[in-house]
């Protein structure tokens, strides 16, 4: 009997939930806002699907209904990726330790 590949993906999914659980509990509460913005950015890896959809049209018709949705999704996800990572970067660069002078 062969195992359906879906089961493997499900295993990855379930194990990742556990990884997420432990990793997120270790995030310090003062960084919860950057945590949200960075999770936002990485969940936009959905752009992968958008690119596949966008490139699916053949050379005669780049713009069919399906690929147009793909193109739009690319832009939406790109806003998130750039916006999310950059704003996280901007926030994190503000967290400074006490200066040890005097």
């Amino acid at each position: 009997m062969e195992i359906d590949p879906f089961i493997f993906r499900l295993s990855i999914f379930i194990l990742s939930i556990f990884i997420g659980y432990y990793v997120v509990w270790s995030v310090t509460p003062s960084l919860h806002t950057p945590l949200m913005s960075v999770t936002n950015a990485i969940s936009s890896v959905i752009i992968v699907g958008a690119i596949i959809a966008g490139l699916a049209g053949n050379s005669d018709s780049i713009f069919n209904t399906s690929s147009i949705f793909g193109f739009l999704a690319i832009s939406l996800a790109a806003i998130n990726i750039f916006g999310g990572f950059l704003v996280t970067q901007r926030m994190l660069s503000m967290y400074k330790k006490k200066k040890k002078d005097k």
Binding site: P5, R9, I12, F13, I14, S16, I19, G20, Y21, V23, V27, T28, P29, S30, L31, H32, T33, P34, L35, M36, S37, V38, T39, N40, A41, I42, S43, V45, I46, V48, G49, A50, A56, S59, S66, S67, F69, F71, A73, I74, S75, L76, A77, A78, I79, N80, I81, F82, G83, G84, L86, V87, T88, R90, L92, M94, Y95, K96, K97, K99
Partner: protein
């Protein structure tokens, strides 16, 4: 062209990099490196996708153009956005993830061949189920986040919108989503697919309107979680490991944050979701308000009290963000420190409109993060402090949460501000906070109310120090 196995390995690598990105956030020192890992993971995922398709024709150029348009808009927003607007920004970003998930699902439904899912009208059953889940959750995330965004932005009233039969209606819609998904899978009808999307948009909207502005920390975290599950649903459809791993990470991250926020308010998750908090309590609180005497003072009095203190604890809240008072506050603290007064900051888990909101604002004002403490870390110090300076916070300091079982916030963890020798309360008026309840602290012997705009008052105090 990259082989399927090789690209799968690269997707796994980028998934691992995303895990490291979150891991980095365990301390501010490692966080910047973590963000770098995240960016690297994203670059790998996108590059591998291009290489595995291997189609560098006109379509590729169009894709790049759309990518750039989005990227420029995103970068522009990221640099322009003021830190006080972070909750709106995150809510807005969630809506984009949701909508992107919906669009990808639509594209996959219309052109399943491109994704190896079968042919139109004959999509593999498993893929169709996964696609429907991704699309439905994505649609809920989108419309819910839009409402959250409008409420946070103040375009829509922050007060809960409730109507008769709301819960039965929501229940019916949720059941209909399941029924439509079932029918869709058995008939493959595209009309049902559109109907599923429409109903999901509607329920996302209906789920968030009854939730009050003050519960936004929970709502934002919850939508964060939804956006993750939507991504995971699409990840299953596309058989993409990076997307599945990320979806699971983001989904559990949002769920944990929601849990922390609910615990900070001592409310169950369902209590928040069912909404309507704040609307009912308002009437009860207005009766016994006027009679009690209040001591109010000016900046001079406040400066005098603080100058003679040896330790001061600052309790910031949402009001500080509204007044943009964080920079003025830090200047005041600098002056205090010059007079050898020990200053620390106490942050309640639900201060502000999203998790960690106050910490970011203080960091923006150059407050070192090792002077900022969480509730459990600092609560015992109030008894030994001379002055508590409450700026823009209210309910999170209300002793009624500990003493009055009748109070709607009873049992909520609060900062023990009343244990300080004296309490300074910067507030515009005596109006109750978001929970709509009176704060006994206002009438205490050792409380001095400073009625003014938070920023202006802080600046005046600095002048008088």
């Amino acid at each position: 062209m990259l082989s399927a196995n090789l690209s799968a390995i690269f997707y796994l690598v980028s998934g691992v990099l995303f895990i490291l990105a979150l891991r980095g956030l365990s301390s501010p020192e490692t966080s910047r490196q973590g963000n770098f890992f995240g960016i690297l993971g994203m670059i790998i995922a996108i590059t591998v996708t291009f290489l595995s398709i291997g189609n560098f024709s006109t379509g590729f150029v169009v894709v790049l153009i759309f990518l750039l348009i989005g990227g420029i808009i995103g970068a522009f927003i990221a640099y322009k956005i003021p830190m006080t607007a972070m909750p709106e920004l995150v809510a807005g970003f969630h809506s984009l993830v949701g909508l992107a998930a919906v669009f990808v699902a639509i594209a996959a439904f219309l052109n399943p061949e491109a994704f190896n899912l079968g042919s139109p009208g004959n999509i593999k059953l498993g893929s169709l189920i996964e696609m429907s889940i991704g699309a439905a959750v994505g649609a809920i995330t989108f419309s819910g986040s839009i409402i959250a965004f409008l409420k946070l932005q103040g375009i829509m009233s922050g007060s809960p919108i409730t109507f008769k039969g709301q819960h039965p209606l929501n229940a019916i819609i949720l059941i209909s989503i399941i029924v439509i998904t079932y029918l869709l899978c058995s008939t493959q009808s595209s009309n049902l697919f559109w109907m599923l999307l429409a109903v999901s948009f509607l329920i996302g909207f209906l789920l968030i309107i009854p939730i009050g502005g003050a519960d936004m920390p929970v709502v934002i975290s919850m939508l964060n979680s939804y956006s993750g599950w939507a991504a995971a649903g699409i990840g299953f459809t596309l058989e993409n490991t990076a997307l599945i791993i990320t979806g699971a990470l983001v989904g559990s991250s949002g769920a944990i944050l929601s849990y922390i926020m609910c615990k900070g308010m001592n409310r169950s998750f369902f209590n928040v979701i069912l909404g309507g908090f704040g609307a009912t309590e308002q009437s009860a609180s207005t009766q016994n308000k006027e009679q009690k005497p209040v001591k109010s003072g000016n900046a001079d009095d406040a400066a005098f009290l603080m100058k003679n203190a040896s330790s001061v604890i600052i309790v910031p809240g949402y009001g500080m963000a509204v007044a943009q008072a964080q920079h003025a506050l830090r200047e005041m603290v600098d002056t205090l420190k010059k007079n050898d007064i020990k200053v620390s900051y106490a942050i309640h888990p639900v201060a502000g409109r999203m998790p960690g909101h106050m910490n970011v604002l203080l960091a923006e004002a150059n407050v070192p993060y090792d002077e900022v403490f969480e509730l459990e870390e600092i609560n015992n110090d109030f008894a030994n402090a001379d002055v508590a300076f409450v700026i823009g916070a209210n309910d999170v300091t209300n002793p009624a949460a500990k003493t009055d079982p009748q109070s709607p916030i009873y049992g909520m963890p609060v900062l023990d501000v009343e244990k300080c020798k004296s309490v300074l309360f910067v507030k515009r008026s005596l109006s109750p906070g978001y929970a709509g309840i009176d704060n006994d602290l206002f009438y205490k012997e050792n409380t001095l109310m400073l009625f003014a705009d938070a920023k202006k008052m802080t600046e005046d105090i600095t002048k008088n120090l």
